[in-house]
Symmetry: C2
Subunit: 244 residues, 2 copies
């Protein structure tokens, strides 16, 4: 784990880092409280397609977890996103269709991203300011495409927030296989008018999760219109389960 820039604002320290995994360099950001190295559980934050580890809602959620929920947070760029893009993310956005093309062409993409997350988790949990063991996962849309297999594979994940997805897309067979193996407490977020993943398929995925302790929050609006209260609900459930 190599650290890069290290900045702080309003009590939150943000560090850029790289982790090496299977020949890949995985770029990430770690948020911890400034001037307090008492260990805290970490939440992995998976961004959406065409976003990155440093897009606004990821940074805002991370800072809120540190400031108001007693946690720390880590995000990594997804494949072909952020600093893993050929242009290093200098051009804004990646068309959703481009991600879907890649998703369709390469099923190994998901296994690689699961490995990237697990190596990242190992690295940050080796730091004195991060509690080893139970952690959280939060990711919607592409953050669920990659995150559902992480939550299924990684026994340290003790609470998860997933959503904006369904039994849909090129890896729907994998979702069908993985979802029943998810057993941790779960908040599942659906947008009623989601134009990318129809609600019926989202409901099928909710039904498939093996967690006894799960709940689905449905809001009006399109895919990208998740209301602020669901970010609040995310922070609440992550805090409740990781700090009990």
């Amino acid at each position: 784990m190599r650290f890069g820039t290290d900045v702080a604002a309003k009590g939150v320290r943000e560090r850029r880092f790289d982790v090496e995994v299977g020949g890949r360099t995985v770029p990430g950001l770690l948020w911890t409280p400034e001037g307090d190295e008492h260990p805290r559980p970490v939440v992995m934050l998976g961004h959406g397609a065409s976003g990155s580890k440093s897009q606004d809602y990821i940074v805002a959620l991370a800072r809120g977890l540190v400031r108001h929920r007693g946690l720390c947070a880590v995000a990594i760029d997804g494949p072909v996103h952020g600093d893993r893009r050929a242009d290093k993310g200098e051009v804004d956005g990646l068309p959703f269709a481009d991600f879907v093309a890649r998703w369709s062409a390469d099923p190994a993409l998901i296994d690689d991203m699961v490995a990237d997350w697990r190596a990242t988790l190992d690295a940050v949990q080796a730091l004195p300011e991060v509690t080893p063991g139970p952690c959280g996962y939060w990711g919607l849309s592409m953050g669920t495409i990659f995150g559902l297999p992480v939550v299924a594979a990684e026994p340290r994940v003790s609470v998860a927030v997933l959503g904006l997805m369904g039994i849909a897309g090129p890896t729907q067979d994998r979702f069908t296989a993985d979802a029943p193996t998810v057993r941790c407490p779960l908040l599942y977020i659906v947008q009623w008018h989601d134009e990318l993943f129809p609600r019926d398929l989202a409901f099928k995925l909710f039904d498939a999760f093996g967690s006894g302790d799960k709940r689905m929050h449905v809001s009006p609006g399109m895919h990208a219109e998740v209301p602020a209260e669901e970010f609040e609900a995310s922070g609440r459930i992550l805090g409740e389960h990781l700090l009990d």
Copy 2:
């Protein structure tokens, strides 16, 4: 408004009252803070079929609104329930089928209950300890059958919690007509395995509400298995909207 028994426990005063409406005597309970007459907004609590104004979850919710949310609460017995039963509620429970038979036979039942709630609201809002004007409504199942028309008819209702219902039952045409006229912020509660009102019909009702600010919380389990966290979520949304 005639008051009866008046008791207090752990900071919450509970008063039995009767209101006369169109020749009917409507029995109710009012919960306010003990020893504090500073006015607070009130939430109307509508119980479910076979329950009453004094069943456990109604009393627990009422006491929580008074103790933790800065509100007061009022409940009345539904028709053929509680003190409005021939046996005065001395025999526990009323089979759900008996309620459905009455619901099917008498559409005026709903208009009467709307009148009962409005007269009750007038009466309690005339008390110095209750704020006139904006108020809340909370009611699931039969509490939505009677409550949806109350929320639609009564402009003072500024926030509502409804659920365990659908575009279903003998008055489904009325729900279809009333739901789009509901404009206040709304929390709508659904049980995924509801054996009385299938989820597809519940989703149709969610879709039909006219509120721009609405959200649906779905939990696993049958009709009567609403988890504690949805009572917490109810208190949160009622408090946020009535005390802003």
